[in-house]
Symmetry: C2
Subunit: 331 residues, 2 copies
């Protein structure tokens, strides 16, 4: 899969910043891929980039119309069909990270055939994977793993990629979720892969590479999350990481979505990930910790990171406030 | 999904006992569901049950025509289409555990519509699952786990079910692979579920039940298998087992299919499964070990089991040679 750029980010009539996570992620991390944002009447949020409608976007060369909003259930409301059909008429591919498939709407499929535009349901992998082989691959790999879901694994990965690029290290960000795929323009939504092919898909995502090349692989879930640990383990085994970065969020007392569950310590998270990762790479090391400290002041965040850094003898940073140079320096 | 019985087992022109594993499994464990076996010219193997052709099977009341053979790749050879169409004309549903879907053959779909017979692609779950909740369920659960794939988890599970029934324990065998599903008449091919729903599907497979009821859940893969550990972990977390039985095969030096991989010890397998299972059931216990000793004499097998039993202070048996009464006695 390859998503053609530049993108026109369609955020519909969204009124909640969280619901435009897809659009914000790509606007934050790949502004050069985004030609503009298109919001319709009623919309009260924005990614902060230039407003363009479909005709203007087309005129300025937009190649993909991104459905940059989400809702619980991942439903594609029929009211957006005219916009989607219009964008195809004006030469754009359609990209959706929703659960509902573009290809399940006959009007959209007919228009795609007529205009020869692509429909990219990035949450639904089309590639045929094979089962994992655990054969050692060339090149270096870093995987971000977490105490929980949604603790900043994607942002940490992108910050590491940015820091490595700044230091002229040959690096690729390997996306495993729909936001990351939109940012990378390619990738595999790993939790949408058939279970049998989990580690095989992870192997395919970071193939053999030059010996000094780094793949920064976006982690998913947590080995301590009862709903998603299987996904995390398959991704970990297939990734064969040389390096792990532990990602953590403040003020959580249970696993995301499960109020009756226990939250693991950072110690436990390190031990569990190292133990599991050694199955496919005995030389794996934890090289750093990142913490989302946005719920506290900058000073308090720095105090927390310094304390964790001393406790674990590892660099510890907030990837957004501090960047991740100190982690990259250890590699 | 529910598979109507009795079954007519179609083994085609198979010449290899391993290739009729599906048919043999159900003939061995549910002879009462099998009305006969249908083999065509060239076939040199058998499950040992009565030979019937399609007309005879229909006359004697067969409700399902089971594609009881397999091949690498799980291909459905077009030469079998006339047999499948004939069976539907004679009132049978079609059941396939192949990778190729019955529903992808237009001739088969047309005949199913015409005759109103069901097409059951048991390797491709049709149910809509949700993500796991890890909410504690009522009733008791035993999961078979293994040092590797194909070490006897299904046979151990069925032997435990048989022993429990003999002792008037309220029990259900919960199938997680296509052979098991054919035997149980229902179940979920867990490695064919979308990864996001792995533990949720496992939760759905063994729902709330009476407090003294046992679900015996067929394990899959191994936590030490680099290709399939994610599946094993999702199944383990969703199953919330109270009891684990460790299944092992003699004379393996690497994980099935991966000559460069390491084989785990039984100690490691016990430790890893207990540690992981505690996330959703802190009270989990290992209650026994089963060993496939078919590669050695009965006496040698008994000597090996006695030694392991002493080493781990657990009952240890070959489920086919010894049965599993000694494990059930500890529950």
């Amino acid at each position: 899969m390859h998503i053609a750029s530049p993108y026109l980010l369609f955020i519909g009539d969204a009124t909640d910043q969280l619901s435009i996570k897809m659009a914000r992620g790509v606007a934050d991390w790949r502004p050069e891929l985004c030609i503009g944002e298109y919001a319709v009447s009623g919309c009260t949020v924005s990614t902060g980039i230039k407003q363009l409608n479909i005709a203007q976007g087309a005129q300025q060369g937009a190649k993909s119309f991104i459905l940059g909003f989400a809702n619980s259930g991942g439903i594609l409301d029929k009211k957006w069909l005219p916009y989607i059909l219009d964008a195809m008429d004006k030469g754009m591919d359609i990209v959706s990270g929703l659960h509902d498939k573009l290809s399940d709407f006959p009007e959209i499929v007919a228009k795609a055939e007529q205009t020869n535009q692509q429909l990219l349901d990035i949450r639904h992998p089309k590639a045929e994977f094979v089962t994992g082989t655990a054969v050692k691959r060339t090149g270096k790999r870093l995987l971000t793993v977490g105490t929980d879901c949604s603790v900043g694994k994607m942002y940490t990965s992108l910050s590491l990629e940015k820091s490595m690029k700044k230091h002229n290290i040959d690096v690729d960000f390997r996306a495993t979720g729909q936001c990351g795929i939109l940012i990378a323009g390619t990738g595999v939504a790993i939790d949408c892969v058939i279970s049998d092919f989990l580690s095989g898909a992870a192997e395919a995502l970071s193939p053999n590479n030059d010996s000094e090349h780094w793949d920064i692989i976006e982690g998913q879930g947590s080995l301590s999350h009862p709903a998603f640990a299987g996904v995390s383990l398959g991704l970990l085994h297939g990734s064969q990481p040389d390096a792990l970065v532990i990602c953590h969020d403040l003020n959580r007392s249970y696993m995301r979505g499960l109020p009756h569950s226990q939250f693991p310590s950072i110690e436990t998270t390190i031990a569990l990930n190292l133990q599991s990762a050694k199955l496919t790479n005995p030389k794996v090391k934890v090289v750093g910790i990142t913490v989302n400290t946005s719920s506290v002041s900058v000073e308090e965040g720095q105090r927390i990171c310094a304390q964790l850094s001393e406790q674990f003898s590892l660099p510890c940073v907030d990837p957004l406030r501090d960047g991740t140079d100190s982690i990259v320096a250890t590699l």
